[in-house]
Every structure is written in C-alpha cells, then in structure tokens.
Symmetry: C2
Subunit: 595 residues, 2 copies
Amino acid sequence: MPEYKAPLRDMSFVLNEVLDAERHYQNLPGCEEATPDMVAAIMEEGAKFSERVLSPLNQVGDQQGCTWNDGVVTTPDGFKEAYQQFVEGGWPSLAHETEWGGQGLPESLGIVLNEMVGTANWSWSMYPGLSHGAMNTLDAHGTDEQKETYLTKLISGEWTGTMCLTEPHCGTDLGMLRTKAEPQADGSYKISGTKIFISAGEHDMADNIIHIVLARLPDAPAGTKGISLFIVPKHLPDALNESNGVSCGSLEHKMGIHGNSTCVMNFDGATGYLIGTANKGLNCMFTFMNTARLGTALQGLSHAEWGFQNSLAYAKDRLQMRALNGPAYPDKAADPIIVHPEVRKMLLTQKAFAEAGRAMIYYCAQLVDKVKLCEGDEKKDADALLAFLTPIAKAFLTEVGFESANHGLQIFGGHGYIAEWGMEQNVRDSRISMLYEGTTQIQALDLLGRKVLMTQGEALKGFTKIMHKFCQTEADNSEMQAFTQPLAALNKEWGELTMNVGMKAMQNRDEVGAASVDYLMYSGYIVLGYFWARMAKVSQEKLALGEGDTAFYQAKLTTATFYFQRILPRTRSLVETMQSGADNLMSMDQEHFSF
Amino acid sequence: MPEYKAPLRDMSFVLNEVLDAERHYQNLPGCEEATPDMVAAIMEEGAKFSERVLSPLNQVGDQQGCTWNDGVVTTPDGFKEAYQQFVEGGWPSLAHETEWGGQGLPESLGIVLNEMVGTANWSWSMYPGLSHGAMNTLDAHGTDEQKETYLTKLISGEWTGTMCLTEPHCGTDLGMLRTKAEPQADGSYKISGTKIFISAGEHDMADNIIHIVLARLPDAPAGTKGISLFIVPKHLPDALNESNGVSCGSLEHKMGIHGNSTCVMNFDGATGYLIGTANKGLNCMFTFMNTARLGTALQGLSHAEWGFQNSLAYAKDRLQMRALNGPAYPDKAADPIIVHPEVRKMLLTQKAFAEAGRAMIYYCAQLVDKVKLCEGDEKKDADALLAFLTPIAKAFLTEVGFESANHGLQIFGGHGYIAEWGMEQNVRDSRISMLYEGTTQIQALDLLGRKVLMTQGEALKGFTKIMHKFCQTEADNSEMQAFTQPLAALNKEWGELTMNVGMKAMQNRDEVGAASVDYLMYSGYIVLGYFWARMAKVSQEKLALGEGDTAFYQAKLTTATFYFQRILPRTRSLVETMQSGADNLMSMDQEHFSF
C-alpha cells in the first residue's frame, strides 16, 4: 500500500535555512508569534494528521469516489470523519484574521500545511482548499455583517465554501457567462443559472455550504465588465433546514480526483447577496487568483513528492536484472532496480522538481505575506514579483509535476499501470492541475502577454535583478561557479529573448501566443535553476561549517548538479522553438488540418 | 460522442505515394495478389468495420470493463458480437499462410488493417492482436501436427491465443521465471505456475484459448538459457468440454484498456506441448519480438491519430475568447479556439507525430515482409534495419503517442478531464504502451547497447546511409534544402555522438544506460524528420505536376515545416544531456535519495 511521509527535514531546510523564515516572520507586522518553535510544532502536528488520517484515505477516495442520489452527495468512507478531526484541530482557522475567529498566522504557514495535507490526499484537501478561497474573497470584499454571518462559520470550519465561476459554454472566457441576478426589494438578489465543475459544490461534511457565485445583473454591460459577485448559501442562515434553491444536479465522471465532488450546480432563484461593487466581480476574483494559482502550483509539487517517495521505495525493493557493470548484490537473485542509470534519472528528476518546486512555492508564499501585511515599496515590489512568478509556478510546476508522476509510474513497470500500487492514481489526479485555475496555455499568455510585455519587461527585470545579484555575490566562490556561470548566461539570454519576442509581437500579436508556452517553460527551468543554486549555496556553507548532516547537504549538492546537467539543458530546445515564429503555426488553413 | 474516421487518404498517401506499395508487393515472392485495387478494397472494408462496429464500442469497453465471476470472464457489451463479425469477415486469416487456411497476404497489409482496428478500439484489438502473436509463434516453431491442430483454428478465428511470459516477481527479467513443466510418459508436459498481466487470457469471445507459455523443465539450466516454450490449451482439443487445469484467478484493475481482460492465469498441472527445442524458448520468443513491438509502436500512432481527430473537431467548434489579432468571426459570440497559436501547436504536434509515425511503421512493415519472404542480402539487410528501427519505433512512438494524447485532452480544457468526451480515456489507454512489450528504458538499452554499440555502429550506419543518399540526391533541389540541410547535419552528428558514447562506454558500462533514453529519443526525432522529408519530397513533386489535390499536398509541406521548426529542435537538449555522463546519476548514494 502506498504511503506518504511528510519530508519535514526537506521542508525545514527550505523554510529555515534557505528562506530564513524566522527573520521573515519577525519583520512581518502581526506575525511575531510565528517563532521557529511554533512553526516546528505546527509542522509536526500537520505531518501526523496528514500521514495518519489523510494518507490512508487517498486510495479509498479514488476507488469509492463520491456518490449522488437525488441531489444528496456522499463523500467516500472516512472523509467526513477526517474533516471533523481537521475542524476539531483548529486547522481551518490557521491563517485567518483573529477578528473573525482565526489564529492570525501568516498565509505562508498555511501553505506549508497545505503541502502536507495535499500530498497525502489531494482530493480531500480540495474541500478545505475551496473554503479557503471563499474565505479570502469574503475577507477582502465582504461587509462586516457578511463576515460576521459567513466568514466566522467558514473560519471555524462549521461551514465550507466554493467558488462558482464556470458555465457549460464558458470557462476561460468568463465574459460570456449567463447566470442572472435579479435585485429584490429587500436588497437581496435572486440568482438563476447553471454552474459546472464546482469542486466541493455539494457534500456531507458540513451543515452548510457558502457559494461565491459570479452572475450578471439585469442592466449589466456585456462581457467581463458586467459580472458581479454574490454570496449564495445552500441554506440561508436563518432557515438552516430549508432549501435556498441551490441544488446539485449531478457529479462529473472524471479521470481522477474522484474523492472530490465535482458538481453541476443549479441555482433556481436562490437568494444571494452582493459582495463588493456591482459589475466589478471579476476584479474581485483577480485579487485572489494569485493565491488560488499558487495553491494549484502546490499540486505539482505534491504529485512529484508523492511519486518520488513511493517509486524510491519500489526501486530499492524490486529485484530485476543486474547492474550494467556486473552484479551489485551477487548474493541476491537480482539487483534492485535502483542500480540502473535510467531508474536513477527518473528518481532524481522527481526529486529535483519536488525540492526546487517547494523552494519556489515557499518563496512565493512569503511574497503573499508581504503583499498582505507590508506597506509601501515592500508591498509593491512583492506584488510585482508575485504577479510575475505566479503563472510560472502554476503552469510550470503542474507540467513537471505531471511529468514526475509519470516517472514514478514508469519505475514500477507494468505494475505501475495497476491500481493497487497507487501510481496510476497519482498520474490521473495530477492531470487536472494543468487545466483548472487557467490552463497552461492561459498562464503562458498571462506571463508573456500581460505580465512581461505589457510592463515592457519590467516584471521580468524584477526577478532577473535578484538572480544577477546572487550570481555576482558568488562570482568569486569557485565552488559555486558550476551553478552561477550557466545561470548568469541564462539570465542574460532571458532578457534578449524577451526583447526579440516583444519586437515581433509589435507587428503581429500571434507572435506572443506562438512563443508563450515555450517561453513559460524556459522561464520555469531557469527559476528552478536559481532555487537549486541557492540551495547549493546554503549546503556548501553548512558543509564548510562541518556541523554534521553532511550526507543531507551533500545530497542537495548532488541533486543540484543533476538539475544543472540533466534538466536545465532543456532550455536549449525551447530557445530555438520559441523563436521559430508564428508562421509555422498560423499558415495552415483551418480546413486543411484534415482531409 | 467521440468518433473515429479512418484517414484513408493519408494512409494511401504513405502506402502508395511515399512507399510505393505496388512495386513492393510485385517484388515480393507470393504477394503478387496484393494489387493496388485489392489493397484499396481491403482498406475500405477495414475502415467500415472499424468505424461502424468497433469505434462505437470504445467507450462502452472503458465504462463496463471486463467482469470476473468464479473464473468466468465476460467482455463488455458488443465485444463478443464484434468479434463474431470479425471472424465472419475473414479478417483473422488475412496475413497467414494459405496452407493452414490463411489468405496469404503480406504482414504489412495486416498492419494497415491493425492501424484502423486499433485506433477505433485499442482494447478490443488486443484480442485478435494476441492471437496473432500466438499464431506467428506456432507458424515458425510448431510441428505440422501442432499447426494442423491449433494454427488452423486460430487462423479461422474459432479460437484465440495468448502469450504467457510475465510472473509476479519477474517481467523484464524473464531469466527468473519459475513456472514448471514436468515431462509425462506420453510426451506431453504438466505445466504449473502463475502468470500475470496476461492480455486476453480469459474471455467469452471464442470456444477455446491457446496459451503460449514460457516454463522451465526440471533439469533446465538457471537463467534465460533454461526456458522452454509450450502450447497449453484452455481445453484440450479432444476434450473441449473439460478443464485442462488452466484458470483465470482474477482480473487486474488497470488505469486503462478496461475493455481488455488482463488476467492472472493459474496453471495447475495443465497439459502442455513443447514448441521448438527445449531450453531455447526465449530465442523462439525473440524471433517475434520485432513484430510484437511494431504492433505496440502502432499504439502510439493510434492514440495520436484518435486524439488529433477529436481535438480538431472540438477546436473548430468550441467558441471561447477572441483571436489575438482581433475577432476572426465578429458575428459569433467568440472565436473558435483553433484561431489560437498554442491550440494549433498542439493540433500540429499530434498530426505531425501521427503522420510520420504512420510512415515509419508502414516502412518497418515492408521490412517485415522482406525478412519473411526474401532471401540472401535483401533479407539480411532488411533484418538488420528492422532490428535497429524496432526499439525506436516501439519506445519513441509510444512516448510521443502519449504526449499527443495529452495534447488532445488539453485542447478540451476542463472538459478534457471529463469521461464523456473520451479524451481522458485516450490518455489512460495510451499510458500502457510505454510499459508492455519492454519499457522505454529497456528499448533504449536494446537500441544503444545491443543494436548500435555491439555492432560497432554498423546497425546505425545501415540507416544513416539511406538518409545520406536521400540528402545527396536532393542536394540540388532548392525547395528541399529546408529539410535536407538540417537532416544532413543531424545525420553527421548522430554518428559522432554514437562514437562519443561508445568510447565512454568502453570504460564504464553505466555510460550506456545513462545516455540510452536520450539517445533513443534523439534518434526518433531524426527518423521522423527523415520521413517528413520524404513526404515533403513526394508532395513537391505532385504539386509540380499540378494534377490536383493541391491543398492536400500543401498541407503536407506545411506540416513538414512545422515538424522541422517546432519538433526537431528538441534534439538540441538531448545532445547536451546524453553527453553529460553517468556520474550525475550514479554518484548519489542509494541511501541518500531521501532522509
């Protein structure tokens, strides 16, 4: 049976040794409580809950899935009880404001917890995950009365929340949405329409579900400028035993994440309440896109880490063939397959993506803290950097997370295709991550079009400056040159490529689209290269100090070298393809793709 | 509902215009009957059967799967009836010898048929596919009596066959297998043991199942040199209503290919008959590995073609967002997503792999014909070339087939994750192809270690000479230079890289493993580049003749250009990584992958 063990040593390495969380929290207004001891205690408790309660339910969730019966949705065995434990442990309130019952801890700590919860059982983690999105929306745009009524119940975990955006005919293009909101005399609205792909839309884990719904007022302008945001509870707070005209029409049959209920939600004149300003609903949503996308980026890391742990155990255990240089264990019937270079390559690929992905996400999470709690330039800079890194984190980490999940499966040979081992579930579960919260292609357009080119490259410079400074600081450190020299060269190339694409795009906007995914992946490889270089630097310093944990730090250096020699060269192909121009994509007549 | 339409125009282009099947068949002893008219008629009938009978059962097969009840296996609704129609149509006998009831048509025509059958419904196609493997084994190694008894029934389709190799503790490493064969006084053997992953091992489609089983005689030497091959029927021919001690213990729960019964088979003193020479069973198997692997290579093409057809239809239909250069269809609510460069890139990638994959497989199939029917140097050369190309076809085409299936899913956005559209089934079904018949990693070791380096590069030269000649012949053709110049450069580089790796491998065998998958993928990109260049050349000639079909040939040129500009540059990264050496994989201590 597959297992998950929270990699606490690796997590603490990134958090404390690479990103200096102690100083980060001491400098954050209101986060002085997040001392290293407290952080360590939270991580340990989170690890226990994830390993002991959630991980054993991961396969159960896949096999049973959710069931629908006349509008009532039942979650897999154990899901409800695990949620109860989660609530009793006070986990939902961790990173929310004390004013509404939260514990007031920083968002970045919530993300550390989410890593463990999500890696142990991604489907389960989506129930509190969607609540978190609803909470953040209410927190930023709700009135005090709305917060008092809804936010407190969400923070306590008594109720859960959802985000209702997609409709059958529009997902990416929300400007086309049709759900109607008709104003009532009492200031409320009647909401009518159908939403699809609503994660955690209906379930049996909590007494009430608060839907955050995008809808259109009768006089709203067409397109994205006519969308408003509404609170639509399953049950109105003063009538908890009555229906509010919200119902789950069916569950989707999905490739994976079977443990999560993906619902078609029907709103039949349901009573709702406006959040924020009318017709500004999409802007309100965008405020939280960064956090939501970072949450999905985490899924890439989760499936890479999970696949790595389980395929590593198998690679050490499975005896098959001999090492190429002759028997490594002559007394055994065959050698464990970890002796084979290609098995090691697949293991190291998963490991390298998981560990640098973690560094990137924790780094972004600290930026989220700063955006939320700092002021002035510090807030502004963090916001710009986060806006630039978020589409890369979301798309790149989910793409390489899916790749990693597939490596994990491949290491098992034919057994990887069999459900019992869990590896194929890991692949199926991970596949959604490149689709929801904006596909890879949408993230790529966001990165290259909106973030980089629309700021005349300023967004990129914000990051390349940081990399440049790092490379310069280490310029005389001969042990770091294997990392800093290629990084410095890539840093320069990145700017030049951006300029080239930008020039072409001024003539033809299709050039942006034609370069965008390659540009995003290229950027992702470099960003992870930067984090591997930083991890290498810390490891070298620790080794030089000779304070122990030698093997741990040595393994980091070995993995960094692997990344630079085996993964980073993928940029060489992308440099060529992203510059090959839009013509090789656009010149095919639409009717001539097939005859 | 997803659909499949046999791409007869594309198939005929490769078969007749690129590979000149007419001349090929006229030169093959005994194949004079395979005239262009006959070939066209077979293709049309095969297309009808695949489109009308098999394709509608593809989703049914996935949703219902096979069921097991006390050893009895029931296939999904319609599978049995479709098989009956297949038998009545005489399809199983197509490419088998007339002496035993076959139609005596060449193997390469069988592969053309298999493309349509397999693309329409891969799970279903595996039932006759495994029979075909059993038939080929009997044909080559069985006695006339065995052929009379078993082969005739398999060729008629009354019975089906399987190949029983894998055991719970060994798949890749067959030398470890334990199934026993005890000689009996009457010359038969009692077979005892457990085999797993037996495709089509038990089902309700035919009256009897003939298992070809690898087992070990009591006095057999250890390892691969002590393996013998046996015929073990489900029912003995003279006792068709009695059990022969062969039973299906259970069905595997798999990621995909649910319509095919993947069985655990128990042999409890079952009566079996030796095929070929004792202890030479593995050699007998290897004779047919090339054909079996080519059959799996076909799966890569199948999933690419299927994904392409269905995602193309969706991309033309789905309205979402506007073209980057402004509305393409201002009168519609939005533009169809095919206006977007990145959607086109995913479509063209699937198309380019499917079409050149087809050319490669049909080319290999002609080599199979020559190996089977020619003599002397012609046979020898074809055999060497086929041995070299087979691991590339098997591993490379299944890897890019899986990539393509994922592009198809991605084009559907969130809907791609939902079962109803069939795109996620296409991904799940395709995932097995990189595992069975030898994983990608095993194929890569076979290619670089056994085929290329053990022949001192001769196997490679056999192919690079052909490419060299092509490039030279076209050297003065200015319209072809966009293809021949990069190909000629790659051809040279391929030889140099092989030399470099070979030199390193003489010091350290791990260097072979460490370079092998990158080397195989690099080789695959070049081989498909060669076939795209050949298709481009034919298209240019036809366009120059001005005999019509202009749009068709123009589309081939556009796709060839796409391949050279967007896909072939992937070799740039592989050149770097394959030369980065074994050290970055081997230096990590086995115990330090994780802490």
